[in-house]
């Protein structure tokens, strides 16, 4: 994919910031030998991360679009002759899609980007294409008493989630009419989606120690879909925080085929023709139900699993297809053993951390290869941070799923989180 002058093609990476994106170092490594990166820091509403900005400036060309209109930003980027564009954060997919359209580069169309980031638009598209979905409502439409009554008549539990959000942040289970009325009254306009809870299967089809939901990692290159693998999950921490990823998922072949088929149908329904997708699905008695489709590779956890297990770099794959390369990955070798990432979550009622003990002891467990501290002493915590509020991430490998489950038990026994609860203050 070199240019006529022998140089590597230039790829625009719309960078979302250290809090939500892959690290600049990882992106730079993924680009090695594939392209040279043109860094565009997406318009953001948080404080500037000067250290990251300085670091990025040493990794490639940068375009400062601060204060520019999207049209002006496109003009500034065009001068550098980009051959493709990528974005790895949900929050900036829409802006990147508009930019790509202005630059004439392959990416999601703005309409598809909207369906990939607005859960209401996504649910609507999936339903319209015949995929099974839970009942869902735009909370803005639930102002009238009879509208709320019809929701209540359909039964509980319900799930309230931001229309645009990641990592289960601010996602809450609703079990009563009183709570429903309270959250509807408190919701800011245009922000929240209400869904029926996707029912748990009577007999979980995933193996012991696995939750009944998975993600399917897929690659779409010029409309051709390759399945990279299926990632399993350990049981959620309340209300909807993820506690661990297992690759491959512990699912029988017939179910794996169903899950893959549903993920591909979902990608088609949303109009995806290129990119790497992370599609989350729940296994129910009536078959797989899409939880959500993400228009980017899975985050750091899934990236690690596929790289460690199959030597596949999903970040790099997204770069290659963005540059127009036709990539098809069929008949991937079956992974040996199980690679895991376990996220140790604080209790949902904990409000601040005083100690996280046992991190060094967790590192001594056979199979554990890495322990990454998360929130620590002095940090305030809340379930509203979702999965990102973990106290430790523990990564490693096991010979099989049963061994991975035993390691998880041991990790949870060794890492002890203490702190103050709501009533303690």
């Amino acid at each position: 994919m070199t240019r006529p002058d022998g140089a590597l093609p230039r790829l625009v990476v719309v960078y979302g910031g250290a809090a939500t994106d892959h690290s600049p170092l990882r992106l730079s490594e993924a680009a090695s030998g594939v392209c040279s990166l043109v860094w565009v820091v997406a318009p953001h509403d948080g404080p500037e991360d000067r250290a990251t900005s300085r670091f990025i400036a040493r990794l490639g060309d940068t375009v400062d679009v601060d204060g520019m209109s999207t049209v002006d930003a496109a003009a500034a980027i065009r001068r550098l002759g980009p051959g493709g564009i990528v974005c790895y954060t949900d929050k900036h997919l829409g802006w990147t899609a508009v930019l790509a359209e202005l630059l004439g580069l392959p990416f999601f169309s703005p309409a598809t980007a909207d369906r990939l980031t607005d859960k209401l638009a996504q649910r609507t598209a999936l339903r319209d294409h015949g995929l099974p979905t839970p009942r869902f409502w735009d909370v803005d439409g639930l102002g009238a008493e009879d509208a709320v009554r019809s929701v209540i008549d359909g039964g509980f539990p319900l799930v309230l989630k931001p229309r645009r959000g990641t990592s289960s942040q601010d996602t809450e289970r609703i079990d009563s009419a009183a709570r429903l009325s309270a959250v509807i009254a408190a919701c800011a306009p245009g922000r929240m989606l209400l869904e029926g809870y996707i029912p748990d299967p009577r007999t979980p089809p995933t193996g012991e120690g696995s939750a009944p939901y998975v993600s399917v990692e897929i690659l779409v290159s010029r409309g051709v879909v390759s399945t990279l693998g299926i990632t399993g999950r350990t049981p959620l921490a309340p209300p909807f925080r993820e506690t661990g990823f297992l690759f491959p998922a512990d699912v029988p072949p017939a179910l794996a085929a169903e899950l893959t088929d549903a993920a591909v149908r979902a990608a088609t329904a949303l109009g995806v023709e290129t990119g790497v997708l992370h599609v989350e699905l729940k296994c129910t008695d009536d078959g797989p139900v899409v939880i959500e489709v993400n228009g980017r590779p899975g985050g750091a956890g899934v990236h690690y699993l596929l790289r460690r297990s199959l030597d596949i770099d999903t970040v790099q794959l997204a770069m290659r297809v963005a540059l127009g390369e036709s990539v098809r990955l069929d008949d991937l070798a079956a992974p040996e053993g199980v690679v895991f990432r376990l996220d140790v979550q604080p209790d949902a009622d904990l409000r601040s951390i005083t100690a996280v003990d046992g991190l060094d002891e967790a590192l001594e467990i056979v199979g554990v290869e890495q322990v990454i501290p998360g929130v620590g002493p002095g940090d305030d915590v809340s379930w509203r941070r979702g999965t990102l509020g973990y106290a430790a991430a523990v990564l490693g490998t096991a010979p099989d799923h049963a061994a991975a489950a035993r390691i998880r038990d041991e990790v949870l026994a060794r890492i002890v989180i203490t702190g103050e609860y709501e009533g303690d203050r």
Binding site: F55, L359, A362, V371
Partner: protein
Amino acid sequence: MPAITDTIRDVLNSSARLAVDSTTLGDDDNLYQQGLTSHAVVNVLMGLEDAFDVELPDALLRRETFESVSSLQAALATCGVTDETHGDAS
């Protein structure tokens, strides 16, 4: 004057968010295994460059450079930072 490796450990303790105190680690122990993330590398780099008043060559801005206290020491040596020059700077 502290040895280079002592200053490296000070920087790691203040900016790397490792699972353990870096003074308990050997020079060749793998820092990623102890919790160093590629995000935290940014702060480690800035901390080292401030502490030693150097700028590492851009070609060294890769994962391997930050793998251990030894690899960081080797990277600093390319900028002329040795225990002798580190002492002279004081």
